[in-house]
Amino acid sequence: MGQAIGDVTVPDLSVDIAGIKLVNPVMTASGTFGYGEEFAPYVDLNGLGAVVVKGISLQPKPGNPTPRIVETAAGMLNSIGLQNIGVERFVEEKLPFLSGFGTRVIVNFFGDSIDEYRELAAVLDGADGISALEMNISCPNKEEGWLEFGTRPELTYRVVNEIKKRLRLPLIVKLSPNVTDITTIARAAEDGGADALSLINTLSGMAVDIETRRARLANVIGGLSGPAIKPVALKMVWQVFNAVKLPVIGIGGIMTYEDALEFMMVGASAVQVGTANFIDPEVSIKIVEGMKEYLVNKCILRIRDLVGVLESEYD
């Protein structure tokens, strides 16, 4: 970028998250952009702040039975079941392609035990071309009666702490919204040593086919994403921003630059665009363009000056 300081026609879109610098605050959310290559024919990956890849586990996972997706009002449910090719093939086959671009690569990962998280993080920590890790804690923990790591502060603290203390790469912890008080989880992740927080993952939901009298997803329950959940996501980002000192990445229903700026104003230092990629593969680039124009029109020099500017008092 290298813009002249103070030139309002070339606003500074760069942001710092967890010690890494992004050329702009717009990333693609895990699970909605594959390993980057699927969308590469349609989007200039260099235009993105970062690509967050589909969640990776230690072993390949086949994923859930089908049907796996269903459209809902202003959103969709998915129960992909974290299908992925496993860390070994990811590092061998997918990472080299992605590293060839100027964009940051953030690897989303998950496990069903602290040991699995730890082993996986170690492999990723040793791989080239990764800028940061994003830890998905919306996963059941087989050591604790399949309670989700992200629904109990103690579990969150423990898994984050165990992983972080051995990690070279910055660690982003991705929070589940299916909790009574997300600030307690956010604080546990902060105490555990997270470098940044990203939120929200999908809301739990379901849909029924009244003709067959069956759930529309083979797995019955799935994760709700898309514009439908934006109000919930915004509220949680705002709460977490006010509860922790860590930088926050806002996710949930972002379709336009206006949506993205809403998240930044309530406290997100950066955003991730998820389901919207399915509607328009170029949406993230359009959001970056929209942000730039907004800054120029308002004579704002740096996008980071908008982070958390929400005036919380009403006249």
Binding site: G31, T32, F33, G34, E38, F39, Y42, K54, Q59, P60, K61, P62, G63, P65, T66, P67, R68, I69, V70, E71, T72, A73, A74, G75, M76, N78, I80, Q83, I85, G86, R89, G226, P227, M255, T275, N277, F278, I279, D280, P281
Partner: protein, 272 residues
């Protein structure tokens, strides 16, 4: 990639033919599809997949890629209201279409209702490549369920029709036509409802001839990124011991990227 609507006409009750400005796009191969966003706004929310029916190159006038569709729900209802000049966002052509078995024997295309879509371009190719005899078997409930039938007459291939009510062709299922038609040197291509495809696959398997089926799944991304349109594949026996231990062989393929056309022997028909 916004394409302009050139025409959008009802060809039969609930069936429409949508002509979209072609503008030097990549030509679709037989069986490929597009993801269409027909409405502004978020209701309905996702794109919808539609096969490429024909690419028309009139002497005068604008080239058009044609979408032949049936109104079944919210998205297709809105599509039916598109007017010339309206914009439609188009992603594609996507996916892997029909593999052409050049030269070999008898090429039997089996279509059920709107499952006719991929066969126009396929028939063109087969005829142009003089790839043996080409036969289209087309089934529907009645004469109003055979969209595009007239178009195929002009292509000069053998067309046989089956209807449930006997209005056109034989009063039988299209799979019965296939049972009569199939020979040991046939290649079968099929598109239509799940039950029909399963039946077709069975008939082809019995004769031990190649059979390719085009599958229909709800899709979100259309490009292999969301892993939503999975179908369960039968792992070849050779893989079973050797590779499954590594959990490395994925039991699911993606209809949008690995398909929509699959070798019928690959599909776990019970899990479809």
């Amino acid at each position: 990639m916004v394409a302009r609507v050139i025409y959008n006409k009802e060809v039969l009750p609930t069936y429409y033919l949508l002509g979209l400005g072609y503008g030097g796009r990549t030509a679709p191969s037989p069986g490929q599809f597009y993801m269409l966003k027909v409405n502004r706004g978020i209701d309905p929310f996702l794109r919808r997949p539609f096969g490429a029916y024909r690419v028309i190159r009139p002497d005068n006038g604008e080239d058009a890629v044609e979408i032949l569709y049936k109104v079944v729900g919210k998205g297709t209802m809105l599509m039916s209201e598109l007017c010339p000049g309206d914009g439609v966002d188009l992603l594609g052509p996507l996916g892997r279409g029909f593999h052409l078995h050049g030269g070999r024997g008898k090429h039997i295309m089996v279509a059920g209702g709107v499952g006719i879509v991929p066969f126009y371009i396929l028939a063109e190719r087969l005829i142009c490549q003089e790839a043996g005899r080409a036969v289209l078997l087309f089934g529907g409930r009645g004469k109003e369920d055979l969209p595009g039938l007239g178009d195929f007459g002009k292509l000069g291939l053998v067309v046989k029709v089956a209807t449930d009510n006997g209005e056109v062709g034989r009063r039988c299922l299209v799979t019965e036509l296939l049972a009569d038609e199939i020979t040991g040197d046939s290649v079968v291509y099929a598109c239509g409802p799940k039950g029909m495809l399963r039946e077709v696959a069975g008939i082809a398997a019995e004769k031990n001839v190649p059979c390719y089926v085009s599958l229909d799944r709800v899709m979100a991304c259309g490009v292999g990124a969301c892993l939503g349109c999975a179908v369960r594949v039968a792992l070849p026996p050779s893989y079973a011991e050797h590779e499954e231990g590594r959990m490395d062989v994925q039991p699911y393929k993606m209809v949008c990227r690995d398909g929509p056309v699959f070798d019928s022997r690959e599909i776990e028909w019970d899990k479809l």
